[in-house]
């Protein structure tokens, strides 16, 4: 089974955001970067599918700066076989520009399955996976929290408001992973050592047309700390009065 996983290097979720001097982007000084958490589910699922099939290859593909090689090595340490980095100093804000580059890289790969995370926790675009699928003409199920594959047919569950959709689709297909799909493994020391020797190809990302111009990045207005209404259950009637009369939300 030939599987590809699209991954992204993102700032850790504990990052305190400061705006860079250009006013358009994150100030990366002192920021710790990680493999996007939703992509961990994608990598794990790819490894499990390969293991179940008994044979195959898992390719991880990233678009990002040179440092994203480390992110790819993380996936290789988990067990992926080879990595490809489309290198650029700035990832486009336009998800379609990213999807076009990924799709061009994937198009002749003969993949049975392509996994992505459902969202990257930095730009929160939640669009690259289904765009890649559309550009490749492949079926796609997004935000999958449960997946079954039998031969060339798949069944997936995805969360919708107030329910779970049970979705059927044929392979090859693109799946975007949600939390709950699996429990990602931690790379073992042996995997980390092996990852250093696995092939990692670096190609330049050419850029291309973009339909999004970033005008500015700003910090959201600070929330003013409100008031402590009181202590213990005795404060509850006053809280409810304030919610009704002052905040007018009841």
């Amino acid at each position: 089974m030939k599987i590809a996983v699209c991954i992204k290097r993102v700032p850790d979720s504990a990052t305190r955001v400061r705006i860079a001097p250009d006013g358009l982007s994150l100030d990366e000084a002192g920021v710790k970067f990680i493999l996007n958490p939703y992509d961990e589910f994608a990598v794990e699922e790819a490894l499990r599918r390969k293991e179940q099939a008994g044979a195959g290859e898992v390719t991880v593909l990233a678009l990002g700066p040179a440092a994203a090689q480390e992110t790819i090595r993380t996936a290789l340490a988990m067990g992926a076989d080879r990595g490809v980095l489309l290198q650029t100093d700035r990832v486009p804000a336009d998800g379609l520009a990213v999807a076009r580059a990924l799709a061009a890289e994937l198009t002749d790969g003969g993949f049975d399955l392509i996994f992505c995370g459902k969202i990257a926790i930095d730009d929160s675009n939640h669009q690259v996976g289904p765009m890649v699928a559309e550009l490749l003409g492949l079926p796609c199920v997004t935000a999958v929290s449960r997946l079954e594959i039998a031969g060339s047919a798949g069944t997936a569950e995805r969360e919708v408001e107030g329910g779970l959709e049970v979705v059927e689709f044929p392979l090859p297909a693109v799946i975007t992973a949600d939390k709950g799909l699996n429990e990602p493994r931690l790379p073992a020391l042996k995997g980390i050592m092996a990852a250093k020797k696995k092939p990692l190809e670096v190609k330049p990302f050419q850029g291309g047309v973009t339909g999004i111009d970033v005008v500015r990045m700003t910090l959201p207005p600070e929330r003013q700390a409100g008031k402590i209404v009181g202590e213990g259950a005795a404060a509850v009637p006053e809280l409810v009065r304030l919610l009704r009369e002052e905040a007018k939300v009841l």
Binding site: V160, G163, R216
Partner: protein
């Protein structure tokens, strides 16, 4: 003048409430562009509730009816929306960043070859170009973007574009379509335990480690119920990772970003990644035993104390207020 296409949502043949938010966002663009809002809804038959679309600013309401569209059909819907957007020469296509919209909008964008600004919280037009603001880093920063595609495609964060009444004709049309539903089919929808999703609920009551054990979430469920079906239960990452609650309830940077009218954080200290997911709530209430917990720094109202005493009392008072 190019018009604005509002892509509405229905489930089980009834228009979903978020549709009026979509029309409201589309109306805002149409006013700035001096054009009309055309609402499109896809179904297997007549969709109830479409008669309300005119009230919020739809000039036309087009129901596309085809046999394959009983449930959301990702590929067939993308075909229909993209065809309509292309043939109608629309300036903008507006969807909602719901589970369906998050699936559909990128497909439409890819087919049209146009950029998508997803999950936007503000929309304007400057010099004829759609300008969208959207949270990044789960709300720790805001990105303002020019969406230069034609059409400009935007999906709106639920609960942000409060429906505003701006009556227009809402002229209803039904179009029969024979578009295939596509290769990806929704076989069934299993109902979840909570009828209302945490990302869409106008009221969210969230619990964290302070609840001490999974069974104690019953106290939060009772409170949610006291709000009369308008509230959903949310959870911190710590309790989801511990397996106490399902991941669908997680609020935060690796869970859902929510903007309800009222957010009640119970036994949640307020880690930065949690605050990122709920800081845009209109009113925040925090209940915590630690008066120095970071959650109080973003809360409008706080009660310091033992949640096991406070919660039952709050449930009782809310029930009274609703009685």
């Amino acid at each position: 003048m190019s018009h604005v296409l509002a892509v509405l949502e229905q489930r089980d043949g009834a228009l979903r409430k978020v549709s009026f938010e979509i029309i409201t966002g589309a109306r805002r663009l149409a006013e700035a562009l001096g054009s009309e809002v055309h609402a499109l809804v896809i179904g297997a038959g007549a969709v109830t509730g479409t008669d309300g679309a005119g009230r919020f600013g739809a000039d036309r309401v087009i129901t596309a009816v085809g046999p394959g569209f009983t449930r959301y059909a990702p590929e067939g819907s993308a075909t229909l929306v993209a065809e309509r957007a292309r043939s109608g020469g629309y300036a903008a296509v507006v969807l909602a960043a719901t589970a369906t919209g998050k699936d559909l909008a990128p497909r439409v964008a890819a087919r049209l070859g146009c950029a998508l600004a997803a999950d936007v919280t503000d929309l304007t037009v400057e010099g004829g170009v759609v300008v969208a603001t959207r949270p990044v880093y789960a709300g720790k920063a805001l990105l303002t973007l020019k969406v230069t595609g034609s059409p400009a495609i935007v999906s709106l964060r639920p609960n942000v574009f409060t429906p505003v009444e701006r009556p227009r004709a809402g002229a209803a049309e039904t179009v029969a379509v024979d578009t295939p539903a596509g290769r990806v089919t929704v076989r069934e929808i299993k109902a979840a335990a909570g009828a209302i999703d945490v990302a869409e609920a106008p009221i969210v009551v969230s619990g964290g480690r302070g609840l001490k054990e999974p069974a104690n979430f019953k106290l939060l469920e009772d409170l949610a119920q006291a709000f009369g079906g308008r509230a959903a239960v949310g959870a911190s990452r710590a309790v989801v990772d511990a397996g106490w609650r399902g991941h669908g309830e997680q609020v935060g940077q690796t869970g859902k970003t929510v903007s309800p009218t009222l957010y009640v954080a119970v036994g949640i200290s307020g880690a930065i990644q949690h605050l990122a997911g709920m800081r845009t709530s209109k009113v925040i209430v925090a209940i915590n035993k630690d008066k120095d917990a970071p959650i109080f720094k973003v809360a409008d109202y706080g009660i310091v104390g033992d949640l096991f005493e406070i919660l039952p009392r709050l449930t009782e008072e809310v029930r009274k207020a609703h009685g």
